[in-house]
Every structure is written in C-alpha cells, then in structure tokens.
C-alpha cells in the first residue's frame, strides 16, 4: 500500500507539473511548433537543458501484471541539477539503481542472489563499457564482459568485445570474443559486420566451439527503407555443422499516409536444409503524412547534432530510434556544451514532433516455422487508432496526435502432433499527451502441450501501466 501511495503521489506530482507549466492559453503559440498542438492533457514544451530545481522528473513508470500471480513494477528517474540522472527500478524481486552523466553510466542490480553491474565511459574517441554478473547458487561464479568501441574515422567505429566466466563448469575463463564495425554514412546508409568466436559449455560432456561472421546493411532508398543481413556460423563439437542465416526487410511509404512492410528471415543448416523461417507483411494507414525514420528532417537534424557533438569531443553516434534519440539528448543536455547544442536539440525535437506517426488502421500477418521445437504459428494483428482531435480515419488532419490505440492479436500455434493453441491479446493505449500514456493489456492463451505436461492451464493476463517520459 505504501508503494501504491508513493506512486499515486508521484503521478500527481508529474501531472501537476504539466498542468502548472502549461495552461490552455499556452497552446497554439507558434503554428507548426510542438506547443501549437492540442493534446487531451496539456503538455509543456520540454526544456532539455533546464537544471531542475533541484530535481526534475524524467521518468516515472508504474505497472502491474497479473497472470497466476501479480507482479508490480515501478521506475523513476530524476535529473539532479546539471550533475546527472539518477534512477531506480523495481520489478518483482529485482532492484536496479542507475547513475548517468554525459560521459559515465553505471548501474547495479540484483534479485534473489544474482547481481549485475554495468558501467560505461565515453571518451572523445572511444567508448569503454563492461558488465559483471554474479550467478546465484553455490558456485558464485562471475560472468565478465568488457567492450571497447574506437572511432577510427568519421562515422566508423571498430568494436571489440570479450567475455569470461570464472565458473568451474565453464572449464576456461575466456568464453567469447568478437571484433566488428559500424559505419554510418549520413542518415541513409548504415553497414555493420562482426566476426565472433565462442566456446559454449553445454549440459553434456562436451563443449561447442562456435565461429560466426555476420554482415548487415540498412539503406533508405527513395521512399523505401531496405535492410538485409546474413550470417554464417560454424560449430565444432560433438556434432559439427554450419548454419546460414539471412533476412531481408523493406518498409515503404506509398503516398503520404500509407506504409507497407514486408520481411523474411530464414536459417538453414548445411546437411539438414531449412530449419526456421519467419515471414511478415503489414499495411498501415495513418491519420497524417508519415515519414520513415531516416528520410525526414528529424533524421537530418539527428545527423547534424551527432556530428556537432563529436566535434566537441563527445562519443556519439547518429540516432534514429526515438528512445536512442531521447537518451542522446539527455546525455548532451548534461554536457558542458549543452547551451551550444540546445538549439539543435530543440530542432530535433520539433522535427520529431512534426513527423510523429499517428496510425489509424493497420493489419499485419506473421508466419513462423521452427524445426527444432516443431512449432508453426500464424499471427494476425490489427490496429485501430483514434487521433486527437477525433476524426474519421479516412479524413487526414495535419494537427492530429495519437490519442487512443487499440491493438488486437490472434496467434495460432501448431505443435507436436498437430495440437492447436490459440492466443488472443488486446491492448489499449491512451496517450494523454506526448509524454504520458496509460496502457492496458489483456491476453488469453490456451495451453500448449508443454503447458499441459507441466500442469499449466489457460493463461489469462491483465496488465496495466502508466508511463511518463520527459522530452519523449
């Protein structure tokens, strides 16, 4: 109850701050600017470089999930002046603390005898990070993994990783190493590759030695975003075999408000043939013009922001994913160059708001087949979105923002001797504004044969969560 009271208090605080900073009269100040948009709940324009007085709430999440038992989760993160961001996350038995500055990130977490630590340091031309995980149980072994990314040329990072295990069962300390690269050219081309070796302890009497090479490319070509990747993995052990994996994916805008998605992924083995496949297709209709993440002004601005940050001695990559953009903006807002970069940070935010996706109607189909588990599934998904201000889905509105979104899913899984299990899921997302959502999820899942064997019956899950994310 105390936890719930705290959550309610914080929710009220966040809501009160939004209300206090933005009155109805503050809206429609600048046509086309984020502040000109109307949300169901008024939202203040975020001040990314504001120091907080002395704290500024950046994240607040609370949720519960109930299947056979109930799990509560809570997370909060605050900005402490210009010093950094401090966060705490609780989920079931797990606890996590985080601290972040523009160069440093550290976290420590634990649950039921297992502990983990993570740290990273962003120097001007390299990024050093590492994790340490202590497994529970009598062995008390540690899994350690340092990573070093070095900027060798503009847009080109070389990345080396390794991991070791102090456990006796592992047999040797060094368990894996890899070397790879990431090359970003503008917003429209990205290339990544890696060569990796690993020595995998099995539950049997043998060890599997793996070596793998992978290459992936992502390109924005006209109205389409295309990605393709492939890998070859060779395994030496009790059985020796080679697996080849490939995937292609395409997203394209057809006209201003229609997006098509398609993709295929397959893995095959040298002597056995295809062992797993996934196919996906989707069509989405938007309430306002839609842009792919690497094709618009937001992408151009993100590239410029990253370039200017790098010029100031910060190790930053070009970010196109909303979460990555937000995290980058938070780091830059803590740096000594925050005022110099604040204009571009704001421009990026405004571009993101200007290119916001407001889906009205979407359909998706996904088919999977896996030889190892002998599972075949087909999933159908449908999305219905109601924009704010409400309007008919076929009528576009330039000032539309996401408001209500209903996601429906039906998955049919065939396993074993043709046994069929159906899963239904329903999700309702209520966006009060750009920073604040209320989410409800419900699902009903018929037991699979493995569930029946394990004595597990039908699963009914109810989830409810509240999310506040400053500057999203």
């Amino acid at each position: 109850m105390r936890r719930l009271a705290l959550v309610v208090l914080l929710l009220a605080a966040a809501h009160g701050r939004a209300q206090a900073e933005t009155g109805p009269g503050d809206q429609a100040v600048r046509p086309g600017a984020p502040s000109s948009l109307q949300y169901p709940l008024p939202q203040a324009e975020p001040e990314f470089t504001s120091p907080g007085e002395p704290f500024e709430l950046y994240d607040l999440r609370y949720g519960f999930s109930d299947t056979f038992s109930t799990t509560h989760s809570f997370a909060a993160r605050v900005r402490v002046g210009h010093l950094g961001l401090a966060g705490v996350e609780l989920e079931g038995e797990r606890r996590l603390l985080t601290l972040e500055t523009h160069r440093l990130f550290v976290s420590t977490g634990g649950a039921e005898g297992a502990y983990d630590f993570f740290g990273s340091y962003r120097a001007p031309w390299f990024l050093l990070s590492g994790f340490a995980e202590r497994r529970p149980g009598r062995e008390r072994a540690w899994l350690l993994g340092p990573t070093l990314a070095v900027r060798v040329a503009r847009g080109l990072d070389v990345v080396g990783r390794t991991s070791g295990d102090t456990g006796e069962r592992a047999g040797r300390f060094l368990r894996a190493w890899s070397v790879g690269f990431l090359w970003q050219r503008g917003a429209r081309l990205e290339l990544a590759g890696e060569y990796a070796r690993a020595w995998e302890a099995t539950g049997g009497r043998h060890e599997n030695a793996r070596q793998a090479g992978s290459l992936g490319v992502l390109a924005q070509v006209g109205v389409a975003e295309l990605s393709a990747g492939g890998s070859i993995e060779e395994v030496r052990g009790l059985f020796s075999y080679r697996q080849v994996e490939g995937e292609v994916e395409a997203r394209a805008t057809v006209g201003p408000r229609l997006r098509l998605d398609g993709g295929a992924w397959a893995r095959s083995e040298d002597l056995v043939g295809e062992i797993a496949q996934t196919y996906l297709g989707a069509v989405t209709w938007f309430a306002r013009p839609f842009r792919l993440p690497r094709s618009g002004r937001a992408a151009e601005t993100s590239v410029a922001l990253a370039r200017h940050a790098v010029a100031r001695g910060l190790f930053e990559r070009r970010a196109f994913d909303p979460d990555q953009i937000r995290a980058q903006r938070e780091r830059l807002s803590l740096s000594p160059w925050r005022e110099e970069l604040s204009g571009e940070m704001r421009a990026l935010y405004e571009a993101q708001v200007g290119e916001r996706a407001v889906p009205s109607l979407g359909f998706e189909i996904e088919a999977r087949r896996d030889v190892l588990s002998r599972l075949r599934s087909r999933t159908l998904r449908a999305t219905v979105g109601v924009a704010w201000p409400p309007t008919w889905p076929w009528l576009g509105r330039e000032d539309a923002v996401p408001f209500l979104r209903l996601d429906v899913e039906r998955e049919r899984v065939l396993s074993g001797p043709g046994y069929e299990s159906i899963r239904y899921a329903l999700g309702l997302t209520l966006s009060f504004n750009r920073e604040m959502d209320l989410l409800f999820r419900w699902s009903r899942e018929e037991p699979t044969p493995l569930d029946l064997i394990r004595g597990v019956g039908e699963r009914r899950t109810v989830e409810l969560s509240y999310v506040y994310a400053f500057g999203r």
């Binding site: 049997g204 009497r205 002597l271 062992i275 190892l372 002998r374 001797p417 029946l452």
Partner: protein
C-alpha cells in the same frame, strides 16, 4: 512426419480394419498357433537325427504392437485380449529369430497397458529381450506423469512391478531356455513429435529425473532415452538433446532411422551404446533392400550400435511398414505374410544359422499364451496408481 503420426494412431484404428490380400498365410488359433507347415523356412526340413533347437537369434529386434483384438464393438466392456493375436505375433517373433521386441505400454490407457503384459512376459519366457516404451498412443499422460515429481515415482514403480519381474522360462526342460529375456524401459517415444516437448526440456525435465528415479527403484534396470524422428529434420533436436546432457541421463541412447542420409549425420555423436529402436522403409517392395543394405550401413557407420529394431511386425496399414498381416478366420485369426521377400530373408537367416537342425516349435514352448496374461494383481497395481 505424417507417417509417424499415422503410426501412432494405429491402435485406434486397429479394430475392424479391412485387411488386404497377401501371398502366403500362416494359421493360428486359440491356444494353438502353429505356423502352417512349410510356410516359412524356419519350419522347413526337420532333421529326424538331430535334437530340435531354438531358432537362432540372428535378426535383431522388432517392433510389435500390444494388439488385443481386431474387432471393435461399439462399447467395450472389460478387458478383452484375444490370445490368438498375442500368440500369432509372438510366434512370428520367435520363429523369425528376433532377439528382442519393442512394445509400448501406454500410461493412462488401461486396456492397452495390460495388453502389453502377455507380450513382454511370454517373449521374456522365450529368452527374447523386451524394450517397454513408456509412452502414449494418444494424449500426453506419459509425459505429464513423468514430468511431475509428485507422480513420477509411483508410475515408474508400476512399470517396474509389472514388467521387470522375470517369468519362469518357457518349456522348462527344453534345451537352451535357461535364460529369460531381459527388460529395459524407454522413456517416451519421439517426444517433440508426439508430445511437443522440446529436446532440452525432454532431457532436463523428463528423462534425467526419470532415470534417477528408476535407478533408485531398480538400480540394475536399463533405461533407454527416446529417439527423435528418423529423418534429417530430427538432427538438430538430437544435437540439442546431447547439449542438454543426454549421455548422463540414460544407459542407452536411441535413434530412429528412416532415411539413409541421416546415418552419417549421427555417427560422430556416439560415445555411449546406441540402440536403433525403429528403422524401416515405407513400401513393402523396399523392405528387403532396407534391411540388407541399410542395417549393415548403420552398424558400420554408427559404431556404438548394439541393437536394431525393425519397424515393424504388424499394423493395419497395408503396403507400408508391416511384415505380416493378421486376418480373421472363423473364430480365430491367421497371419498372412505381406512382406514376402523380407520374411523369407529373415527365415533364411534363421535356417542358415540353425545349420539344418530342427527347430523347437513355438507351441511346444508356449502351449497356452494365457499363462502370461495380466493377473488380478497387475490390474490392481495399475488401478492403484491411476485410480488411486
């Protein structure tokens, strides 16, 4: 693996199935189920000078089904096991020189569980080993009770109590029958196909705990792992079973081989004794070639193989895997050889190994197969576990 699923449904369809014509017949009747004289090489040329001998066990193992009746009444009352059917199948196993049978005794299926009893006991009385498969023809009961720590031990004790006590040797006083057959237990059949249990889950959550429980109940008992499907599709799953610790969770590792291209894929994995618990070819015309060419290839390329069980003696699907058919004849039944060439091959192997000595007829050793039928104690033991 539609074939495998079809095989599983055999018992459900067994009753009343139409049985096709065949080229040679063997007669059988209640309590007297002798092969028709001259119908097989095993019964040819009795040397009046020599003492009759047991058919030499030269043809490896064979899969049989716990068939108890071929008619199917609308509603079945009580337990009906037609002794002629048991005798016909066992006579074929005996006469054709098989050294082991593999038979399923399904959990939660009282009639078929008890129907497996006379096959196992009579075979063992004849000196033939028996591999009893703890599995189901329908449903997931076997996997369920073997996964559940609360139920596992009681169910394994039931199998130990019913199937492992050795019967008295058949035909006491006959030469060569001092030994009764051994028994081994196999934990499920093709678990991913029939139970949708992933290979690592099978090893960690079903096989290993069952193995450990059985070793506490009966330390000397041989425990055999389940095999995966005998086609290349099964290789990744076999691999996953090894990765999950298969070698330390059983006494024998089982493979099924229905595709020759599988053989080189399995060969490097052997570090333990391997049993091929099913191998055969679909299509009667392919049977002989499969046994003559593939069985030696398996032996040569999978060095750890110590047993191969041919799939299979009898089912109700004509022209596919079965060696013989069984037809009603009056109030009794008769066996009809369907896979003529393979049958002759097995019989010739026996005859050659016998060196012209006369063979002891089955009915001399087993004058009445009902002596091996399940007892009231067997039924009580079953009911005590399943009905509580």
């Amino acid at each position: 693996m539609a074939d495998s699923i079809d095989r599983r449904g055999f018992l459900d369809r067994a009753a009343g199935a139409w049985i096709g014509l065949s080229s040679r017949t063997v007669q059988g009747g209640a309590g007297s189920t002798g092969w028709t004289a001259g119908s097989t090489a095993a019964h040819a040329a009795v040397d009046p000078e020599g003492a009759p001998i047991l058919p030499p066990r030269v043809n490896g193992g064979i899969n049989i089904q716990p068939v108890r009746r071929l008619d199917m009444p609308g509603r079945e009352e009580g337990l009906v096991i037609a002794p002629e059917l048991v005798a016909l199948q066992l006579q074929a196993v005996y006469a054709l020189g098989f050294d082991a049978i593999r038979i399923t005794a399904p959990h939660g299926d009282r009639r078929n569980f008890l129907a497996a009893v006379p096959y196992v006991r009579a075979a063992r009385a004849l000196g033939i080993d028996a591999l009893v498969v703890l599995s189901n023809f329908a449903g997931f009961t076997s996997a369920r009770v073997l996964w559940d720590a609360q139920q596992r031990r009681r169910h394994l004790e039931l199998y130990d109590r019913v199937f492992t006590p050795p019967p008295p040797p058949a035909g006491t006083g006959e030469p060569g029958l001092a030994r009764v057959g051994e028994v081994a237990l196999q934990i499920l059949n093709e678990p991913t196909l029939f139970f949708a249990v992933p290979p690592d889950v099978y090893v960690r959550e079903i096989l290993r705990p069952s193995y450990e429980a059985l070793k506490r109940i009966h330390p000397g008992l041989t425990v055999v792992s389940a095999a995966d499907v005998g086609t290349p599709e099964g290789v990744p799953r076999v691999r996953a079973m090894f990765d999950a610790g298969l070698e330390d969770a059983c006494d024998r590792i089982a493979y099924h081989v229905y595709d020759r291209s599988l053989i080189p894929l399995l060969s490097p994995s052997v570090r333990n004794a391997v049993w091929i618990t099913e191998s055969g070819a679909e299509g009667t015309s392919r049977h002989l070639g499969w046994v003559r060419e593939t069985f030696p290839e398996i032996q040569a390329r999978i060095p750890g193989v110590s047993r191969i069980f041919y799939f299979q003696l009898f089912d109700t699907d004509p022209g596919r895997f079965r060696l013989i058919d069984i037809e009603p004849e009056g109030a009794s039944y008769r066996a009809v050889v369907e896979s003529v060439d393979l049958h002759a091959h097995f019989a010739a192997n026996v005859s050659r190994a016998a060196g012209g000595d006369p063979l002891l007829p089955f009915e001399v050793l087993v004058p009445d197969v009902r002596a091996y039928f399940p007892t009231a104690e067997d039924a009580e033991a079953y009911d005590g576990v399943f009905l509580g």
